[in-house]
Every structure is written in C-alpha cells, then in structure tokens.
Amino acid sequence: MDEHILTEVSVVEIDLARAIAFVSDAAQGAIDTFIGIVRNNHSGKSVTGITYDVHENLANQSFREICAEAQGIWPGTRYFVSHFYGVLDVGGVSIVIAVSSPHRAESFEACRYVIEEIKKRAPVWKQEHYFEGKSDWLPGHSLNSEAEESLVCCGRCGEKRHVG
C-alpha cells in the first residue's frame, strides 16, 4: 500500500486539518483541497439534508485505485480522501480531498481528476431530503462499464483476479 495515499469512509465529521497534515511534506510546495458541501437547493427544490449511502469496502477500494491512477499521471503527488457515510444537514461536509505536489499545477489537476472520477466510479449514493418532507435518491453514473472491464474471477477458482 502506498504510504502517500490515505483513503477512508467516515461516519464522523471530516477533519480538514488532518487531511492537510497527511499530505504535507517539506518537499511539497503546493496543497490543493476539494471540500464537498451539502447545499440548500437542487433542481428548484429546497433541500434540508442528504443521506449518503456507501458500500464501504468497494468505495474505499475505488478511492485508492483513483488516487493511484492520479499518482501515475502526476508523479510525486500525495493524496487524502475521506467520504462521509450517514446523514448531513445543509452545510455539512460530504467529502474532503487533499492533494499535495512539488508545484501547484499538479495539485490542481490531480485534485480535479480525483473528484471527477469518484463521482463516476465510487459506490456512493445520495438521498436528498426536501422541506415538504419528501426524499429522492438522485440519479447517477451506471457502473456497467466498470463491470465490462472487471477481471474478477469466474466464481469457481477462488482468486480475486481470474487468470485462467
């Protein structure tokens, strides 16, 4: 496991200072952060909060894979990703991503890459709650293309990756 990548699913308030501390290093001249916040409106509806549902194992696995990919594209970068699991009111922090690099350009680009890929690939779902008392699960990106690329075994060989 790469010691410069820390990913987690959190059921408690995400600590931004911890994110920055993890990616900080004397050789890193830049840190870029992304903080996802629950806003009070969506598609004309007044939102009171969001329930985040997460497949913890697979989400954490996808966070690590995405950070490792980014590290391959932007060598020398360090990553912290924490995604909230549970119920948040408006203003609550749903995700914190921190990326550090020797120079600023890589931090900006890598941080953007990580959040965009998480939105498309991580098994996380949002249920919005509205003032009128209703709730809706939001539509999202199908993981069918991930299934097509999957190398998970046939179910008989017992290996994580099927090679036969």
């Binding site: 991580a122 249920q127 699960w137 939001l138």
Partner: protein, 83 residues
C-alpha cells in the same frame, strides 16, 4: 439442476426494499440471470434500474458472465453519485 439462494445487499434506491433481499436461482447461473431473478422479485417496473445496476462481491464488481456455483452474498449497486 440444484437451486441455490443468493442474498443481495441493497444500496441506494434499492434500500426501499430493505437492507437485503434473497432470490433463488439455478446453480451455474450468470450475473445476468441473477439480475433477471431480482427483476422477478421486485417487479417489471424495476427492470430498467436493475439493468443499469451492477452486482458486486466484497472484492469487486462482477462481469455479466460471472457464474455463481454456490449460495453467496452479493451487492446490487445502482448508478452512483458520490462526492
């Protein structure tokens, strides 16, 4: 042919059916067959959302041709929207 039980952990919009549902399939069925059994369990109106969902074990997303030989617990993952 032997019939086996597959427990499906529910996520996202599938939570409305509980944390888990059970379906019965024939041994040696594919993921595609299991998705068909889920549609029969939930009703035809969910055919589209089941079709755009994937099944996963705890180690990864399963391809459509993945074959299930024995009782197992899987997860159904509808389209995602994290962040």
């Amino acid at each position: 042919m032997e019939e086996i039980k597959v427990s499906i952990r529910c996520f996202g919009m599938f939570r409305q059916f509980g944390n888990e549902i059970d379906v019965s399939i024939l041994a040696n069925s594919s993921v595609d067959d299991i998705k068909g059994a889920i549609v029969r369990h939930l009703g035809e109106k969910y055919k589209e959302i089941v079709g755009s969902s994937v099944l996963a074990s705890d180690s990864g997303i399963l391809p459509e041709e993945y074959i299930v030989y024995a009782p197992v617990e899987l997860s159904i993952l509808p389209p995602v929207c994290g962040g």
